[in-house]
Symmetry: C2
Subunit: 108 residues, 2 copies
């Protein structure tokens, strides 16, 4: 089990690349077989497989092989570490705005 910082680092490095980000966006809709994932990119299959390996190493995707077909899925909660980090970066002004919003919601 990697620690929070290692996991965050791996996830951010993985999604900083636009091709890998497009793969994550596609898989958020539903699992897909490798040939489907490759279709939108003008990219040799070995290059795509390498991107998938980075995503798998970062814990963002899992894959399963049935016969000759490999299906790739987004791992549930894969991006949670990024949610946590973003939450921690809220500035004091943003926290204050949150509290004001809660107050106004209660007052109405």
């Amino acid at each position: 089990m990697p620690n929070y910082y290692d996991e965050l680092d791996a996830v951010l490095r993985a999604v900083a690349d636009p091709t890998r980000r497009a793969v994550v966006e596609r898989l958020a809709k539903s699992p897909a077989v490798v040939s489907e994932l490759a279709a939108p990119f003008s990219m040799a299959l070995p290059s795509l497989m390498q991107h998938l390996r980075v995503l798998e190493d970062a814990g963002l995707v899992t894959s399963e092989k049935h016969g000759r077909v490999r299906t790739v899925s987004l791992r549930p909660g894969a991006l949670d570490v990024l949610h946590v980090w973003l939450g921690e970066q809220r500035t004091p002004a943003e926290h204050q705005a949150d509290r004001l919003a809660i107050h106004l919601n209660r007052a109405t």
Copy 2:
């Protein structure tokens, strides 16, 4: 005004680096002068300035010079683009879990 994808790309590339991420984490607490930002890193000042330039180009930080002192601040809403992207990556199962949570909240 950069478009959403360019902005997202610049922000993710900026925070994928651990030094730049540490600077963002520090600035989320309060603005800081450059020498304060440099202190925790065993890094030459020109290298830190280069990281700050990447953060500034990505729209994450702003800086102001008063006399010889440059103060760097996290731009309010700087990470919003990342919040939006994360929201879009919620899987159908996660959306279903959200709806169930809302239903259970209403039922109690």
